[in-house]
Structures are given as C-alpha cells and as structure tokens.
Subunit: 441 residues, 2 copies
C-alpha cells in the first residue's frame, strides 16, 4: 500500500465487530435499566479532567498508569475510574444536589497498564454509588447486594455468589491483637489462603507474629457455616474491641436486610477473608463470583467508604457502591464461551431488490418502519447470492425479496432466515409475522 | 478549604445535573433507536487512536485542535470526529464486513477549540453512514433524509426543513464557466447570501469574475419554486457539463425517492446554495433547520463522499452519512427554552420511612421493583420536610410514606407529587396506579 497509512487500532483497546457490539450494548443497557430500577440517577462526567483535580488522591501504581496530556498551559488527565469524578461532582455541585445522592455512571476509563490478554487500557466501568451527607444508613449496604443480584439475573446468570465482609471486623481483630501496623501485611498473606492453604498461611504469619496471636487469627479464619453461624462464631470470639463489635453489628444488620430485599439465600454469603484492597474501603465490602467460573475472579466488587471527597472538602461524605468492569467481563464471557454473539441482530428485515424498480422497496421499508420494525434495504447492483451472504453477515431475521413478479402481483417473498422457510405473503401478513417474532425476544 | 484541592470541571466540558442528564440520555436513546430502525449496526471505536492513523487526513485548523498525548514511545491522539475512526475500521476489518456497510456510532469527540458559550471541547456526535465497496446506489442518498425526518419527529419536532443540494451541480456550473480554481472563493461568497443579500454577493463576485459569468451564477442563485420547478430550471439552464448534468440527475432521483420513503413535502426542499464545507463532500449534501429557530444553524448535516478511506487503502469506498452534534444541540434547545429538564425523572416512587422499623420499606421496594417500577428508598434519619424536598429534587412521581400506622395496618400512604393528592392504599393498588401513569409516558 504505497503512500498509505496502515490503519491499526492500538493494542489494549477493545474494538468489536458489529454482532459483538450489539451484544455488548445489550448487556450495557440491561445494567443501566437495572441501576435505574433502584432509582439511581444518571451522570456523565467528562473523560478529561484537570490533572490536579484528578490526581489529588492518586499515587503509586495508579499515578504511573494515568494518561496525561497538555493543552496550552493546562495539565490534563484522562479519568482512571468513575469514583474520583464523582467526588469532584458532589463537592462542586453540593448546593444543587439532595442527599443521599444516588447516581450511576457507565463510561470509559483509562489506565496505561501493560497490555495483556483481556486487560484493556480503555474499558467500561458501570458504577452505582450512594453518597450521604455526614452519615449514611447501614441499610444502604444491604440494598447493594440486591442490585448486584437483580443485575446479574437480568444478564442471564443464576449460579453466582455475592460475598460480603466488613473491614471493621478485620481491622478490629488486628487492633485487639495490637497488630494495626501489620494489618496490610497480614491481609496480603490471608488473601493467599485459597491458593496456598491454611498451613502455609499460618507458617507465613508466624515469621513476624507471636504464636498466641496467630492462633487467634487462625481461629478467625476457621469460622465456617451458614451466615447466622458465622455471626454467632464472631460474637463468641469475645474480642474486646469497639471496631470489631461495630463490624459484627453491621454485617448482622446487612445480612438481615439482604434477605428482606429479596436476594435468595444461595446467592450471597458472608466471607470473612475478603478485604478488597487496603486503603479505600472502611466497612462493608463485596465481591461477586460465578460459581462455575471462579477463575474469572470477582465480576462485581465494591464497598463502603467513610469519606468520599476528603481531598476536596472538609465535609464528611460516606458512601457505598459497586462497579462492574464490563469490558473485561465481556471479554472473559466470550473467551470462555459463556456467551456468544453469533446470533445477535438488530435488523428484523433486510429488503432485497431483484428488479430495477426500487419504488416498492422504499414504500415497504417506510411502512414497516412505521410499525417499529427495524429494516434495512439493499438496492445495490449485486447478485442474489451476495445479497444473502450479506443477510447472513448482519444476522437479519427475515429477508424480503422483491423482484419483477412481486411488483406485478403486489406481494412479497418473505424468508425466515433461521428456519429457511420462504413464503409469498402480503405486507400486512409480514408485519404480523415479524412482530410476533419480535415480541418473543 | 485549607490543604484541599479545588474541584473544578474544565471549561468547555459539558457536565449536567441529573435531571438534565436524564433528558440528554432520553434524546440520545431516541436517536439510537431511530438509527437502529434503519438497520444501522452499532460501533464503538476507541477514543484514543495512534496519532499517525488519526492525522493521516487532517491538517490546518483540525490538526491544531487535536488533543495529542504520549504514552511510552507512542504518539497518541483523541478522536476529533467519528468519520476518521470509521475509515480506519472499514479498512482494518474489511474482510470481516459485508458491504454496503451501515453503521451508527454515538460517542464523544474532542476538539481543543477556544471555549465559547455552547461550544464544547468534548461533545457527542451521533453519526450514521452507509459505506459502499466500489460503488453505492444513489437511493441511499434519499434514505438519509428519511432518517433525519423520523429522528427529529421522534425527538418531538414538527416544524423543520431538511435542505438538500448536490455538490456536482455547483462544481459543474463553475467548471462550465472555467472557474474551477475559484470555486472555494465563490462558495464562500455565496454562503453569505442570506446575511448580506443578493446585490452584495454580486458585487463581491464581480471583483474577480467577468460580468457574463457572474450573470450565469446569479441566474443560478435566482432559481426559485417547488423542488420540481427548481429541477426544471436547472435543466433549462442547458449547462454543457457532465458533472452538472450528473448532479441534476442525482438530485432528481433523490427528491423522487425522499417522497417514496415517506418524508412529507413540507419537511424537505432543494436548496441550491448549501455546500457543506469544501473538500470532503462530492455529491448530495444535507442541512437541517428548525424553521422557528433558524439562528441555531443546521442541527443535522452530512452528505455523500467519493472516497472514505483514501489515506488507508487503494480501495474506493464511497459513502453517505449524517451527524447530529448532540451536546451543542442540547445546549441550544435548553438555552432557547425549546426543551426543559425540570420535569424529567426516572424515579417512579420514593419510599420514605417515618418509623424506626425499615423491614416494610425493604419488602415493598423489592415487590415494586419486581413489577418493573423504579424505586428509591430513603431510610436516613431526616425530617419529613427534608425528605419531601429530596423527593422534589429528584422529581419522584410518587412518594410512599411508611410510618407506625402504616406498618400496624399494613397499608401505604401514596402521594402523587404532581397533583399533590394523597391516599391510603394497598400495595396492589399502588402497583396499578403507578403502572397506569408509567404507560401514559
């Protein structure tokens, strides 16, 4: 290609073929409608922000991954999550909002990570957060799993578990053992329990922690059973620490209300080992797993935080929220054949013209569209075989063929592309048939 | 705010309050559904592209406005429209697509223009394009105004006009007068005809063009009447130029089929003065005006181009498409009080708890959501007045109040927020009432 620029999408940037995009958009819409059912209001903050605003809180790994740019004198940056823009938003528009402020945002965020299979530099996050002004009832923490449950049900999943924990339990436990300073390190070790087993965890803990304390941690990690049994076990540990007690009270209240909000027992459980990062969350934390595909990791996570906007305001704004990383989730679901885009379509009917007279095509297309049927017409000079290949490529559900005979007799040839059945019908019959199929979806 | 970062959205970046965002999203969804009704398939290309790919075609003003960034060794840039990414896409995935390729894309684009009232640096474009492989029937050019018509009808507008012209007519005319080289300059002068009047246009043209030729141009500009009369007048000019003749044939075919596609006569007209920029379009061009708000400028524009991807491939890909600049349009419609977001809501019911027992709130919320009703609950420790202020702020349609009496008697107090009417009802009655209101929308 002499003198031409090679057109190439950047590595780490998801770009889908139309059929995949239809499925992706369908999932995005289900998530949106599901968030709206819980009364969350939409936001759409800019992708570019003032670098100082965006990086007020960042540091370490995050800061390295950020896309920065300059325009004139200004230092700009692309958002790397939807939480920092939310903190900016509630502080900036505080006087115009009512609290608790419930918002959802579905949008792209940017992280210049090393590109890996299934890891994107531009990816969608789908977030809901409830932000209180000064305080926020713990019942909100119980409503969140109900959102997760309903969203993934609507996405077509049944066999998933929402795992719930409370950071105060872990923090209180460590504090009661006078291990506050070691808590990050302990959590890091505990986090490996599924991978390396209990004994190895104990061995690692013993390197820097006295045996008596390690025994209490191991007793804590050994807590098993139904949610109620776990709560009882926590209470019977008789840890004399206010934070620990608060955490137990909170998880008790949350697990009571999750049930009332209608989440079936088999879809949630208390899991005392999950911690969700180290600094951000301060109370309830959530992770969600597809039981048959645990290797995918958590597909929806989040938690409670004490102070959303501390870098912008003295006002205390506690919040609780979750995020679905849709781009990565979509990739994983496709990659593991859990979902498939092969059948996806938005074209109900493709009208194929095999005559030189296109008036009937245009008229029929207009009539069908009035009936809310999605119609494409193909009036190009192509052979019938090529036109049917086209119909297959766009997954058209029906094809209408209009040739000389059809024009003469004012009828249509309607082909059902999934059954292959082909009939001569009137326009009214076509409308009825197609609408019937559409309503089945 | 000692030690705090001032949270501030960048100038030129649209950020809406929730009620406005609901209306914005509603318009975006109407446009999307309308594009899908014509069978256009969705695309969602990355916002960041390789700078060399994105700028293959750019130059001049556009290039200056582009947001460029570096990440590691790579020169990156943010897309400034959705057409260049489309050209990249059809070239990159040529083998996996079927042509004519019909796609829509609705997404943000970036131009670092000087911020002005109503001009944004980050803004939504809503594009449809039909891309042919080698050739593309002129009937497609007639389907486009039908898309414009149906989209703006669905958006709630009646009194608008789609203006159609064909660049070949103008180019052919200038060529027949041996004024090819002056054509940009002539178009620039003609473009001012509405503003400065015919006489001034003539005077300006006479500065550099012989009177005999100016007379022909003025005769052309004087063409008036219904579409058919204009076409006849063009034919009777007897311009001996192939391009001109082609243009007249094309506009004749387009205006015949626009009618067949169902666009009412009062919503389109041939306007021989519109040209839509100078380099890009090669055939049919479109502009759309709200007749009562012509000062807003064209609210939907586009046209036919010969060669979409010439910077990437030797393949000839003609196309035709339009774009709605939704962010700017939204701003203008709000600013001129043509639309208002005051009544917008997605919350059907706000449940307000006035008792310490929240179980009934949670139960009722779960039941209502099962019925596809959007429900928020407010269980915060706030006074009733504050909770109703909240209900007003989020434009909740109904409020359910649950106090000690309601819990005791297993009933609800339902308040219709628009009429102010308040009744004691059962849950089943509530569902019926709210669904009835919802279906009216």
């Amino acid at each position: 290609m002499k003198g031409k620029v090679q057109p190439k999408t950047l590595p780490g940037f998801m770009e889908l073929l139309p059929n995949e995009q239809i499925l992706f958009n369908k999932m995005k819409e289900i998530i949106q409608k599901s968030y709206e059912k819980y009364g969350f209001l939409p936001l759409d903050t800019p992708i570019i922000e003032d670098a100082n605003v965006l990086l007020a809180k960042a540091g370490g790994e995050t800061e390295k991954q950020i896309y920065k740019l300059k325009k004139g004198e200004s230092d700009l940056a692309l958002r790397f999550d939807l939480t920092v823009p939310l903190a900016k938003y509630v502080t900036e528009y505080y006087d115009k909002l009512s609290f608790p402020f419930k918002r959802y945002q579905i949008g792209k965020v940017y992280r210049g990570e090393k590109p890996q299979r299934g890891r994107y530099r531009e990816f969608y996050q789908c977030d809901v957060d409830i932000i209180g002004d000064g305080e926020l009832s713990i019942i909100n923490d119980a409503e969140i799993p109900s959102i997760i449950y309903n969203t993934f049900k609507k996405l077509g999943f049944d066999d998933f578990t929402i795992c719930i924990n409370n950071r105060k339990i872990l923090n209180g436990l460590f504090s009661s053992l006078e291990l506050d300073d070691a808590s990050s390190e302990i959590l890091r070790i505990i986090d490996k329990i599924e991978k390396i087993g209990k004994d190895s965890v104990k061995k690692e803990l013993l390197i820097s922690i006295p045996e008596k304390k390690v025994d209490i941690i191991m007793k804590f990690l050994a807590i098993k059973g139904e949610n109620e049994e776990k709560i009882q076990a926590l209470e019977s540990m008789e840890i004399d620490n206010e934070t620990f007690k608060e955490g137990v009270e909170e998880i008790k209240e949350v697990s009571k209300f999750i049930k009332i909000f209608g989440v079936p027992k088999e879809n949630y459980k208390i899991d005392l080992t999950i911690a969700r990062g180290l600094d951000y969350y301060t109370g309830t934390v959530y992770e969600t797993f597809l039981n048959q595909y645990k290797n995918l990791g958590s597909i929806c996570s989040g938690g409670r935080y004490d102070n959303l906007a501390e870098y912008y305001t003295e006002r205390k704004m506690p919040g609780v929220g979750i995020s679905i990383g849709l781009s990565r989730l979509f990739f994983q679901l496709i990659d593991n054949n859990i979902i498939s885009a092969n059948e996806e379509s938005i074209v109900d009917i493709l009208i194929i013209s095999m005559a030189d007279d296109y008036e009937m095509c245009a008229k029929i297309a207009a009539k069908l569209r009035e009936e809310d049927i999605n119609v494409q017409i193909n009036i190009e000079q192509q052979k019938l075989g090529k036109k049917f290949k086209y119909a297959n490529n766009i997954n058209a559900r029906y094809v209408i063929i209009i040739g000389e005979d059809e024009i003469k007799n004012n009828v249509l040839t309607l082909k059902d592309m999934s059954s292959g059945e082909q009939n001569t019908v009137t326009l009214d019959e076509t409308i009825k048939i197609v609408k019937k199929t559409k309503n089945k979806d």
